[in-house]
Amino acid sequence: VECCVRTGRAGTMLRRALHFGLASGLLSRRLGTRRGGSTLGKVEGSGGYCVRYWDGKVSEIKKKLQSVLPGGTWDPLYDTSHLPPEHSDVVIVGGGVLGLSVAYWLKRLEKQRGAIRVLVVERDHTYSQASTGLSVGGIRQQFSLPENVQLSLFSVNFLRNINEYLAVVDDPPLDLQFNPSGYLLLASEQDAGMMENNVKMQRQEGAKVCLMSPEQLRNKFPWMNTEGVALASYGLEGEGWFDPWCLLQGLRRKVQSMGVTICYGEVTRFISSSDRMQTPNGEEVILKRIHEVHVKMDNSLEYQPVECAIVINAAGAWSGQVAELAGIGKGLPGTLQGTKLPVEPRKSWRRRELSLPPPPNRSGYGRYVYFWHCPQGPGLEAPLVTDTTGAYFRREGLGSNYLGPVLDIATTLGLNRVRSALRSRYYKPCPHFPPQEEEPDPENLEVDYNFFQDRVWPHLARRVPAFETLEVRRAWAGYYDYNTFDQNGVVGPHPLVVNMYFATGFSGHGLQHSPAVGRAVAEMVLEGHFQTINLSSFLFTRFYLGEKAPEHNII
């Protein structure tokens, strides 16, 4: 009792604690300490220990009190501050750059401030496997579909004015480190005709691209060997590469300031209800509506059912799994119900020549990015050069370093599997990366350095003779949301699950289209149709109807 008398504040706190029903626990513990105080290690005396014990308790009691007062989150049973909210108007599955972009545009285009509650659910708070962090960060307008060109044009505009779009009061502005060096696509004789048509279409849409002949190439880029090149297209403005992390952090910061909740957990279940409806022809259709999303926390079995009105699937490489949770694809093949979302966590390239057969083993390919050093390499003005074989490289930083990924050389040479292992982004800066062959494991993302030596390097050295002497420093591999149907994105609602919208499947150019796609999905959700860029050819129904929207210029 003497310690309570000494600290009078603790006495009042004790009274209040009694009032809130914590009495029995405290009292019994207090009695316990008086008995066992001297056996608990070094203390100045049982009185001193009591004071320290009470100090800790006082802060706990204060926290409880603050949670009870208005404005706090009070849950008398247990602390729920780590769980997502119980209700949310829109739940976005996937917190990468596409998901955050949709959240941003939803909050920006809403009619009234605070009208829509948005929750973004991201599985991995380190983003170690997300395509955003592992991407090369390039942006270009040299596509073969007009919609893709328009998406890129708007995205470049967004990135250029990023400090106006994503400005948060009192926070420093973003530095995207954009290198406007442009893209240089090289074409052989057979592709030259297609390239000319593409460039004509791109210029019509407003992209600043020019065609170059091999002599002009040699004049402008003396380090290049133009053997086998018939035509090249060079982007003059608005093409280059930037830091994807910066965009991600900027979006995160801005959407949090706009009131979006970001929660780290995994979506494990959708609770939905079905309605039987009839089409005008008399056919019966079952329409589903998702009511709840179960979000499971990391490393625990605890989950929170979030009641929602709209679900947006922006889960990147894992969108197919999320769609399956919602029941998309569960039906007879060939029907609309049986049409799955054909997005897979592919780690390899698309084949440049469409005449090759599809790879027999779907999983276990590697899309590697190699980082090498070459002191005599192309200078600072070198654009991102895409070879006729599909391999490409670009300058990274200022120390004669380059990076470049591999085309699907595995398929062209008949290899069935390429070994890969997990290389998390946090370990990438480690300088002593062991270039050894490890056990083949399709779940991991390891890189095969011998593969680089045998398959990639000859193509690079042929195109840029300076690359004959290079030293590979690092490498990493990444997933991306590969759309096996036509390698273009899926945007818009599902015809049967009426409140699930897609924003995924961009197969390698999701990052550069993310601002524009976010806006398109937000328009679809808020208005019901596309307003600025018409992406009707990217709807889900094309998988059922078989209408491909193929993109030929894929890098």
Binding site: A167, D175, L236, L398
Partner: protein, 238 residues
């Protein structure tokens, strides 16, 4: 990560709101603070931040003022298409620069502008087919869209973009149409350019006939131990 790299002083737009309110709060608190002006500005900023975090109204008002500044800059950079159609790109470009507060020199004529001698600013409308030779846009609020007007000047020989607060890497990358005619370009003291030394090198590559002034290519490099005491250089972003 991005916070470590954005170490240059932020453009004035984001913090311009603070002095507006600082004046107000200082008068509310009276002149009781005996701290230095720097200290009281900092206190004002902290108070502002506290208010913004606590009250939605303050936050909304500050965001509105910020957006207003941004749209003001955009408004000043809008394209004067009607002038371009009637009088041609040279006169439209000259009109744009003069409206922004810069100075223009036509071939064979004198400098027109605030410090030049051209009093009546509409005299140049009568110049038919006289190209613009030199433009001094120091300190103007010209941005990426506004550069459209300058890029149409096909015979421009000298351009000065010193101290323009909104000219950044994107704007500089857009200067390639002037590669044939431009001989002198001044890029001194551009706050929005992230790495002046690197941009000097890249701009020199882009404009081979041009002499780029104002930025030293060693600016921004890590100095050796001898020179470290002299300059405040930022490390190069890798």
């Amino acid at each position: 990560r991005f916070q470590a790299q954005s170490q240059y002083s932020p453009p004035q737009s984001l913090h311009l709101v603070a002095p507006v309110w600082n004046g107000g709060t200082r008068s509310i608190r009276g002149l009781s603070s005996t701290a230095t002006p720097e200290g009281s500005r900092k206190k004002g900023r902290m108070l502002l931040q506290f208010l913004t975090d606590c009250f939605y109204d303050v936050k909304a008002l500050r965001e509105y003022l910020l957006q207003k500044q941004v749209s003001e800059v955009q408004h000043r950079n809008r394209a004067a298409t009607h002038i371009k159609e009637h009088y041609g790109p040279d006169i439209a470009g000259a009109y744009f620069i003069l409206k922004q507060g810069g100075a223009v020199k036509f071939r064979g004529k004198e400098w027109l502008g605030p410090h030049g001698q051209g009093r009546s600013s509409l005299e140049f409308f009568k110049f038919q087919a006289v190209p613009v030779e030199a433009v001094d846009a120091s300190g103007c609020t010209i941005n990426y869209e506004g550069l459209d007007n300058l890029l149409a000047l096909k015979e421009l020989q000298s351009l000065s973009l010193q101290r323009c607060p909104h000219v950044d890497d994107w704007c500089l990358s857009r200067l390639y149409p002037l590669a044939e005619s431009l001989q002198e370009l001044s890029l001194a003291d551009l706050p929005a350019v992230s790495n002046p030394g690197l941009t000097q090198i890249l701009v020199e590559e882009m404009l081979p006939n041009c002499e780029v002034l104002g930025a030293d290519w060693t600016q921004g490099l890590i100095l050796g131990p001898k020179e470290q005491s002299q300059d405040t250089a930022r490390p190069l972003p890798a």
